[in-house]
């Protein structure tokens, strides 16, 4: 009985550490691979990162101020394949989509003439081979501004 409890507690602790490890992995990935792409823009100071599976989507809503220049970066671990990202306005009109650039663009620079609310949508491609286990990977959306 004692042995079972010991194993249970040990495994729960190990599980917690594993989870902590994944979060640390996403932070480390974002810091090393994504943040260097932001210069000379300044970060808005928020970490928007998550782990995603094939077929999943994520949105980020943010307002952009008139007279400012911005860079949006969508950065994903290679295991997830070609990530699609698009930026649309409040009415849903698409202003940018990296699909039209053969997924080669992972960032978009723009200036805003009138303050506006935009949505950045990220989509992980569906898994083609359904017989293998789904692989999870980190996706980060980073926003920088320039004075």
């Amino acid at each position: 009985m004692f042995q079972k409890r010991f194993i249970l507690i040990s495994m729960l602790v190990l599980g917690g550490l594993f989870g902590q490890g994944l979060r640390a992995q996403c932070k480390s990935f974002t810091k090393k691979k994504c943040m260097p792409m932001l210069a000379p823009f300044l970060s808005n100071g928020q970490l928007n990162t998550t782990t995603m599976l094939p077929g999943q989507t994520a949105d980020m809503k943010l307002n952009f101020n008139s007279g400012m220049s911005y860079r949006i970066i969508v950065c994903a671990e290679g295991v997830l394949g070609q990530i699609e990202f698009q930026v649309s306005d409040a009415s849903g009109r698409v202003l940018f989509i990296n699909k039209s650039k053969d997924y080669a663009a992972d960032s978009w620079d723009f200036t805003v003439e009138t303050t506006t609310q935009l949505t950045v949508s990220v989509k992980v491609p569906e898994q083609v081979d359904k017989t293998v286990m789904l692989e999870e990977g980190c996706v980060s959306v980073i926003v920088g501004f320039k004075k």
Binding site: G16, L22, T30, L42, Q46, A58, L95
Partner: protein
């Protein structure tokens, strides 16, 4: 049989870890439990139908950006608008510290943007103390202080250091499953920015600053979205209620939406977005917002 049990326990342990790992965005155990519960729901939905899972992030402009916009609009610096440095000893609760770390962080951004370097160092010290007592010393620790002192005459470097520190603090909180603390810091910082903007607007008629205040309606909506995700935390729930009350002050502001236009410069590859939201705000509406912002900010800076 034994192997089966051990396998089951092993799976349980790993699932626990994964549930915690999928959080997007900590110090109290309650906050961690809330974060884990929210993650559990998200993962359960994801397992059922991964293709339909949708995650939504709500982001806000940096306090540095807000300070810069006000300066460009002709605002002048007045240290009386900032939270008194003496208040820092009041903050003993986790929520009081988090909210006022946001407040002092915004004050630090303002002093830096307006080249008040001696005050920047004083506010940085307060930010440093509060972040250390919240367990996020790595963001605004001694290293940041040293870098700021070494670059005290270079505003762009200072802004870059502060911006990096904000990011480090937020990423640390998310890594450690403390999204409620992160949300409170963001909320405190945003309210301080609005408060300062309204003080400037009340001190001198400036239509551009009035428009910048009206535009905060969009940020407030996003902040309410961000706080709603963490509303299981009682301190976040209390702040959310105040922010929803503040939304009422913005409700009558007229906003006309025009179709967005975009054109890309072939040389620079930079797109210019036109159209969007045009705000029309009256002096009376600014007065109402200023009154509510003052009341909420007073509540925050007097919170123990």
């Amino acid at each position: 049989m034994k192997i089966n049990n051990i396998s089951r326990i092993l799976v349980m342990g790993l699932v626990t870890g994964l549930l915690g790992a999928c959080g997007n965005s900590a110090s109290s155990s309650e906050e961690k439990e809330n974060a884990a519960a929210a993650d559990t729901t998200a993962v359960k939905k994801g397992k059922k139908d991964a293709s339909n899972a949708q995650k939504v992030f709500y982001a806000l402009p940096s306090p540095i950006e807000t300070a810069d916009l006000l300066k460009k609009a002709g605002a002048t610096y007045n240290k009386d608008y900032l939270n008194s440095l003496d208040n820092s000893t009041k903050y003993n609760s986790s929520a009081g510290k988090a909210l006022n770390l946001g407040v002092y962080g915004t004050d630090l951004s303002f002093t830096t943007i307006f080249d008040a370097s001696s005050e920047s160092i004083l506010y940085l010290k307060k930010v440093n103390n509060l972040s250390a007592s919240l367990g996020i010393a790595e963001a605004f620790g001694d290293g940041t202080m040293d870098r700021m002192q070494a670059n005290s005459n270079n505003r762009d470097s200072l802004l870059s250091i502060i911006s990096d520190a904000y990011w480090t603090a937020d990423s640390y909180l998310q890594e450690n499953q403390r999204p409620a603390t992160s949300a409170l810091i963001v909320a405190g910082g945003w309210v301080e920015g609005l408060y300062i903007a309204t003080r400037i607007a009340l001190s001198k008629e400036n239509p551009e600053i009035n428009i910048r205040i009206a535009e905060q309606k969009l940020s407030l909506d996003n902040l309410v979205g961000l706080m709603t995700e963490q509303k299981k935390d009682p301190d976040v729930a209390a702040m959310l209620s105040d922010l929803i009350d503040l939304q009422a002050a913005f409700a009558d502001i007229k906003k006309s939406e025009s179709k967005s236009t975009s054109s890309t410069d072939a040389k620079t590859n930079v797109t210019t977005i036109g159209g969007g939201s045009a705000f029309v705000v009256t002096k009376e509406q600014i007065s109402v917002i200023a009154k509510k912002a003052d009341a909420l900010r007073t509540k925050i800076i007097n919170k123990s």
